[in-house]
């Protein structure tokens, strides 16, 4: 009697169906996985998408008043009408790049705001409104609350006094004690240097041309936000989290010896390993891609690189899940064993949050090229030409880890 032939494709499909059924049977786990996905997306949405890179600095009196008060003295010192007009037209109130100047009429107002006795609000047209929070005044509408924790009170005749080299010119820096020492120190330096410049004293060194001193792409005003940095990290963490669920599925099969039962059917060890690979990789990959899509990480330029990177990452963690799962430990043992692999691999992901390049010892970790490619593609919008070396390095690690996983699981399955 001839038995119907079962194709390998049908066997693998049946195994995948079994995996999906086992995974979906635990509705609580499924619900919680969905919940974590949603929370990660929410987290990526609520984290600030801009970088506050300016120091808010209060000054009194307004810069225009300081200049107006100095006009006569500057004329007496020989300034031409043209020089005065240029000074008048220069929008000094804009401040330097990196400084957000908030101008107060009096030193008392400035001091009260820094002290916290008054609130400073900037209206839509750029005006300044002071509010006494203790008086029950309503908050100004269409206005933004300013956080002025440091300010400089110049004497009204500051410019003319310094320009005419008078002795005893004093400037007061008001500061909240929580302002970091480097900012307090810098503001004092800033005032002193303003004094030197007004007194006509040149810098003691020749500074290079401004264009030539910035190394790398100048991102001033266009910094990478925490949200941008979090996106690749979260996608990576999702890949990593699936190590736990995948290794748990494998452990259960090993512990309960269901794999032995499978192997008395036409299923071969290779079919079993292939199905595990497809299911584990597909599960991690699809969850990671869904998160990346929801947070808008894909662009027409980076989608292919991102997809390949996620695939490599998913395959890497499937390999780890195979190694962990094939040990056939109980839940606690498996959790601890997973941690031993996963914690070192997490380090490059957290390294993304720090400025600058990763330390050499971090760069040799297997997960580094995956996270570096994710960051390159999603944050810096790099493409294949810039990332292929990193991806090749990732592929090499994936091959090593995946083959190790396959061998470990194959040996375990055959030993049962």
């Amino acid at each position: 009697m001839s038995r119907p032939t079962v194709t390998r494709k049908a066997l693998v499909a049946a195994l995948l169906k079994k995996e999906a059924l086992a995974y979906s049977r635990d509705t609580l786990y499924l619900f919680l996985t969905g919940l974590v996905l949603v929370m990660i997306v929410v987290l990526a949405t609520v984290v600030p998408d801009s970088v506050e890179e300016q120091i808010t600095l209060g000054v009194s009196p307004p810069v225009s008043e300081l200049i107006a008060n100095a006009t006569d003295e500057l004329k007496r010192l020989g300034a031409t009408e043209q020089q005065l007009a240029e000074l008048d037209e220069a929008d000094l109130a804009e401040g330097d790049e990196g400084l957000d100047l908030v101008q107060f009429e009096t030193a008392d107002d400035l001091s009260a705001v820094v002290k916290g006795d008054l609130e400073a609000w900037r209206t839509a047209d750029g005006g300044l409104v002071l509010r006494d929070p203790g008086s029950g005044e309503s908050k100004p509408t269409d206005a933004e609350r300013l956080s002025v924790s440091i300010g400089i009170a110049f004497p009204p005749t500051f410019v003319s006094d310094v320009a005419s080299k008078q002795d005893g010119v004093e400037v007061t820096v008001f500061s909240d004690a929580s302002v970091p020492p480097e900012i307090q120190g810098a503001m004092q330096s800033f005032v002193r240097e303003a004094g030197y410049q007004l007194a006509g004293e040149e810098l003691p060194v020749t500074m290079p041309d401004e264009d030539s001193i910035v190394l790398g792409q100048d991102r001033s005003g266009d910094q990478i936000s925490l949200r941008d940095k979090l996106i690749p990290m979260l996608a990576f963490l999702i890949l990593m989290m699936e190590t736990f669920s995948m290794s748990s599925l494998i452990s259960v099969e090993v512990l309960q010896r269901t794999v032995g039962a499978l192997l008395v059917t036409p299923v071969r060890v290779a079919d079993f390993l292939f199905a595990k690979t497809v299911f584990g990789t597909g599960l991690a990959f699809s969850q990671g891609v869904v998160v990346l899509a929801i947070v808008g990480a894909f662009t027409t330029a980076n989608w292919s690189v991102l997809m390949v990177t996620m695939l490599l990452g998913a395959l890497m963690f499937t390999g780890i899940a195979m190694v962990v799962g094939s040990a056939g430990k109980d839940f606690i043992g498996q959790l601890f064993y997973s941690m031993a692999y996963v914690i070192p691999l997490m380090i490059p992901a957290f390294g993304v949050l720090f400025p600058g390049s990763a330390a050499p010892w971090i760069q040799v970790l297997p997960s580094y090229p995956v996270i570096a490619s994710l960051v390159g593609a999603s944050v810096y919008e790099l493409g294949w030409p810039e990332l292929w070396t990193s991806l090749a390095y990732a592929l090499a690690w994936v091959c090593v880890i995946y083959i190790a996983g396959l061998v470990a699981l194959k040996r375990k399955v055959e030993s049962l």
């Binding site: 609580l28 786990y29 929370m39 970088v51 890179e53 300016q54 120091i55 790049e97 990196g98 310094v162 080299k165 005893g168 004093e170 400037v171 007061t172 820096v173 008001f174 500061s175 909240d176 004690a177 929580s178 970091p180 020492p181 480097e182 900012i183 120190g185 810098a186 004092q188 330096s189 800033f190 005032v191 002193r192 240097e193 004094g195 030197y196 004293e201 810098l203 003691p204 060194v205 020749t206 500074m207 290079p208 910035v214 190394l215 790398g216 792409q217 991102r219 001033s220 005003g221 910094q223 989290m241 736990f244 748990s248 839940f331 606690i332 064993y337 957290f350 720090f354 400025p355 390049s357």
Partner: protein, 354 residues
């Protein structure tokens, strides 16, 4: 309920506990987290501007900048390496001090200064480093500043990030020892059938749970104390802190019992903790961001134990100042008892049904 049976079961858990890798993990976690959070993430939340200096001639400028408060100065061997580090944003800025630069500045020769800024450095850091460097050059130049700068400070300095991270670390110590350890112990006994075996003896379910609670609470009390000691946050009054930690340990251990009796197996336990972990963890984040509306933290159950630990352990307050918070924590703990017992009865019925 027999106290002697409760203590006997608890003794068994203490004797067998160290064999579990989770137990080891619970012991190591506070140390590892203290190290990671305080050393690594402390600098993440409070980054200092980073300046690299190539000092080719023992310049006084380098000495003065190294001594500058709030600036992270690195001395580098050569200009090429400096430029590479600045370009990679390993440094916010860098400068090269050529041989004899101090003397040239003093004589008014205005020597060229090689100064580099990283394209990825924040505008605020550029200003801080540039004006600080120029001010230092003025000091070396030796002239008198044309103005006098007076500083008036208001208020008290904010707490450093390393201190504000303590609730996060204590949270993990409490949850691992108080929630995860007794929870997983119950689940493990269910899975291995030892709980069923226990229950066919004169031991009652409530006694097993009481023993697990003693186990979790003792471990949580010990680990939270160790964590606070590692972070030098033992407050001013040991007895006050002990009261606070005992209530915190009692509450977390009760949560541990709850998740243990609710979870039918390890996967559910892990999934449950993975899902509700955010809910438990939320109040600890508010200490990192004091400008957030703090009332939101009160919506989360662990706020009522984390805040008393913060007030008494970190801020050195007396236990009386957090009496209300502790009363809420005790009320939550007591409210969880009937729920836990009800779930335990359900668990027993499920085990009996096979």
């Amino acid at each position: 309920m027999s106290l002697s049976r409760v203590l006997r079961i608890a003794k068994k858990d203490f004797a067998l506990g160290p064999r579990s890798p989770l137990f080891l993990y619970t012991l190591l976690l506070p140390v590892v987290l203290t190290l990671v959070f305080q050393v690594a993430f402390g600098s993440l939340f409070a980054p200092q501007p980073r300046l690299g200096i190539v000092d080719q001639g023992d310049s006084e400028i380098a000495e003065l900048l190294v001594a500058e408060e709030g600036i992270d100065v690195t001395l580098i061997d050569n200009e090429q390496e400096l430029k590479q580090q600045v370009e990679a944003n390993d440094l916010d800025a860098g400068m090269v001090l050529t041989p004899g630069i101090d003397e040239k500045i003093r004589t008014g020769a205005r020597p060229p200064l090689d100064f580099y800024i990283s394209g990825e450095s924040y505008a605020s850091n550029r200003i801080i480093l540039t004006v600080t460097a120029i001010d230092t050059l003025r000091v070396v130049e030796g002239g008198n500043a044309p103005i006098t700068v007076n500083v008036e400070n208001f208020g008290e300095a904010g707490l450093p990030v390393s201190t504000r991270l303590i609730p996060v670390i204590v949270f993990y110590a409490l949850v691992m020892a108080g929630v995860f350890t007794p929870g997983s112990s119950i689940v493990e006994e269910k899975e291995k059938g030892t709980l069923m075996a226990l229950l066919v003896t004169p031991v009652r379910t409530s006694e097993v749970l009481a023993a697990k609670w003693v186990f979790g609470a003792t471990l949580a009390l010990a680990m939270s104390t160790v964590t606070l000691a590692l972070n030098r946050a033992l407050g001013g009054n040991a007895l006050d802190l002990l009261v606070v930690l005992a209530i915190a340990a009692a509450m977390t251990a009760m949560l541990g019992l709850l998740v243990g009796v609710f979870s039918k197996n390890s996967t559910v336990l892990f999934g449950l903790l993975k899902g509700v972990g955010w809910f438990l963890f939320a109040p600890a984040i508010f200490y990192l961001f004091p400008n957030w509306p703090q009332w939101i933290a009160k919506l989360f159950p662990l706020y009522w134990i984390i805040d008393p630990i913060w007030q008494v352990g970190v801020m050195g307050e007396r236990v009386t100042t957090v009496a209300f918070e502790l009363a809420v924590a005790v009320a939550i703990t007591i409210a969880l008892v009937p729920l836990t017992l009800w779930l335990a009865r359900r668990m027993q019925a499920q085990m009996a049904a096979g």
